[in-house]
Subunit: 468 residues, 2 copies
């Protein structure tokens, strides 16, 4: 996949060589010769990947990396640090600054391109989430700033390894970084891994077989583990294996002998990435569900009711089961607002919502229909049962005044409830709502604080009205 790559290096010859390699593979190349210029390019030109030299005058590579990763607008852009040979300490420092990987000078082409392809693919995927987050912001959602400086510790790591000595070593290192570790010693256990559902999967190569690679591949093709980071641990001789693994979607690898700090840093990077993505996903879910819930009471809203009721009533002709509806209004609610203020009025609305929830069954649907009106949708429920629920609700409101927080006031509130049942699928959701509303109107007219059923559309004896 083509991509835009930013090369940051103060040595013109290094830039030129790397740029030629990448251009030859049809990547778009941008360059910057110093830290400040790099940060500007990252903000303005939206590269898909940054190849970043460590040693630069002014702001050095570590600082640049850290600033990219701590900026919510750029944190999803992968950074590969380019270090001098043997600088193990530099590498760990780079990873701790948030780098996704490092490459050693002179840069080996196969490793470079395998890593670039893998990170560009990751970036494309994160782009989709990132873009969506920006869309939410533009629409006007309050987006909780994603905590980009997550430590990356305290995660659940699944370690797949069948060598006893080695796995207890890894377990000890990661355990010391506050991770919880589940060890699996079977490279065929993809099903088990799916069931466990960890944050990062570490696969340690201990055999010559391709079982570990098969496992990684299977985890990538299974829906639940598709986005879970995978880190391989192997030997220098396994380089071809690593490169193949990156192609298959493995996220990172570590070469033995295991450097404790490097293992910790690489696992943290994957944990952070996973959490970042999880958070963006959770934000989206939250924003979507806001469209269907009432923010004051936490109940579903009218929009949700309409869709839901239509779908329930659409299934009625086949199922021959009744649906009942309660249309609930708080009596003289305006007076509550006028006497005690809007804040107290809001508390009453909230409390009515809570009492409705406590008095219905799990499969009933409680909705704030608007203002001081609520609706309860009761599938598979004949009107007699619905009337029982309505009566109970009416009584509990009338008998227990609502206590207002931070005051001694207790507000007496009563409800009027209209009840309607639909049985044969011969009417629309709108018609059923209208009949429940008419019954509510009758309850108001008859003096409030009571439940009134409406006769069902099919000719049946309607149960009698009774005060609540």
């Amino acid at each position: 996949m083509s991509a835009r790559i930013l090369i940051v290096d103060d040595t013109p010859s290094s830039v030129k060589m790397l740029a030629a390699k990448l251009t030859n593979e049809y990547y778009e190349v941008l360059t910057a010769d110093a830290g400040r210029a790099a940060l500007k390019a990252v903000e303005e030109d939206a590269p898909d990947l940054v190849l970043l030299d460590v040693m630069m005058p002014g702001i050095d590579g570590f600082d640049v990396c850290q600033q990219i990763k701590q900026n919510p607008r750029t944190t999803h852009i992968p950074v590969v640090m380019i270090t001098a040979l043997g600088g193990r300490e530099d590498r760990v420092r780079g990873l701790e600054a948030g780098a996704d990987d490092f490459l050693t000078k002179p840069v080996d082409d196969t490793t470079l391109f395998a890593r670039v392809r893998s990170l560009v693919r990751l970036k494309r995927m994160l782009d989709q989430w990132h873009l969506r987050e920006e869309t939410s912001e533009r629409l006007g959602f309050r987006t909780d700033t994603v905590d980009v400086i997550d430590g990356g510790t305290g995660a659940h790591i699944i370690l797949v390894d069948d060598s006893t000595v080695q796995k207890s070593n890894i377990q000890e290192i990661l355990g010391a970084d506050s991770h919880r570790i589940t060890v699996i010693d079977d490279y065929d256990a993809s099903g088990k891994i799916v069931d466990i559902g960890g944050d990062v999967i570490v696969i340690s190569l201990s055999t010559d077989s391709d079982a570990p690679l098969r496992l990684a591949s299977r985890l990538r093709s299974l829906e639940p583990t598709r986005q879970v980071p995978i880190l391989l641990i192997g030997d220098t001789e396994d380089m071809d294996y690593f490169i193949k693994a990156l192609e298959l979607g493995v996220n990172d690898y570590l070469v033995r002998p295991i450097d404790e700090h490097e293992l910790i840093a690489r696992v943290r990077t994957q944990v952070r990435r996973k959490r970042y993505q999880d958070r963006l996903q959770a934000n989206l879910m939250q924003h979507l569900s806001m469209a269907l819930t009432d923010s004051l009471t936490g109940l579903h809203n009218r929009r949700y009711l309409t869709t839901h009721l239509e779908s329930v009533m659409g299934r009625m002709p086949e199922q021959d089961k009744p649906v009942s509806l309660l249309m609930i209004d708080i009596d003289h609610f305006k007076k509550v607002n006028d006497t005690y203020g809007h804040a107290a009025g809001d508390e009453v609305l909230f409390e009515v919502g809570q009492r409705i929830l406590r008095n219905i069954r799990g499969f009933d649907l409680a909705v704030r229909y608007g203002g001081e009106e609520f609706v309860v949708e009761m599938p598979d429920t004949p009107v007699e049962v619905a009337l029982g629920v309505a009566d109970r609700l009416c009584e509990t409101m009338a008998n227990e005044p609502v206590r207002i927080s931070g005051s001694k006031d207790k507000i007496s509130v009563t409800l009027s409830i209209g009840v309607a049942e639909s049985r044969d699928g011969g009417e629309t959701a709108d018609e059923l709502l209208k009949r429940a509303d008419e019954a509510l109107y009758e309850a108001k007219r008859a003096g409030r604080n009571r439940v009134i059923p409406t006769p069902p559309k099919t000719a049946r004896d309607a149960p009698e009205a009774r005060p609540g």
Copy 2:
């Protein structure tokens, strides 16, 4: 990237050979030996790609393909048909049935893997959208069934070609399929293509240079064209070029001599894919914005106001500009509902929203605050100006009764409006709303149908109350 691939073929030896090739590259392989079994596997095992033989007893390959593509749950799964040599007619029929490509037996490995990689990448991207659509459905959104049987005609095609004869040929063929075509004869014109923004980009190779490939690559790295399908047209000798192009993110290619039907079918496939994705994207946008709008009036809702007002007031200390707020309530609205019914009440609410919109400026924000209450947020506006707007609004409601649809009723409605201004950033959004609410309460107490300002928090002479 690893993936799950379903091979459908009734000849065991064909299945075995293809399965071995794919397994060797670490793909997960599923198999089905007949059409019905294939459809079952597609529904239940969620493959990332289907390799589909044409000739099978029972339901043949064309039917299987069509059924996969017409099912909203599986339409995003790519299908490659495997045809006998030379069956040009079969190929077009396959494309018309919705196939993403066909391969000719015996299957050439390089072509196979290039195509598989390209389609799996596409699938992964569509998965994200598809998953989101399913999430919306699960949350309870009414998702308009995406029209999967879109004809794929009538799109805007950008044709890049510098050969006069050839381009007029292509133009004629695609024009006959109701596409609008913009021709560009410069392979460096990525900027122009971004500006034009077509549905599909067709790049016809007419030189030996790599300019067309550079163009494709640039289009893939630019944000606006990243998801726009690209189709290459070239010669049999360009096969290496095509394979490289697929790796870079080009979606499809066509080999000369141009078969009219094949060109039309391949372009249609890309148009359909683009539209499918656009629609899923639009659905998401719509669902997200629902969370911030009031469905009855189309105005923004209280949730949006809170976030917006907080951000406007947060900027106040630097900007030293006042913000004014109108808190508007419909007088005796309950009576409207009781006298004319809820439907008429809803019409009144809608009409009040419309009149508010007509009386404010483009940068003011109109909000349905709840029930029969509205708020107008006026940035950079001193209270004197806000009072003028409020007076006008009050008058227009009092002077022009609301006409109710399908009836001769005209309902006389008046408004009470409280106005508050915040100037020095010394109060919160909540406090400003509360002050506007108090002014509204004063307007009600003073007899309704009037505008009352509240004195600003900083000591200033408050303008006098006046009836609206």
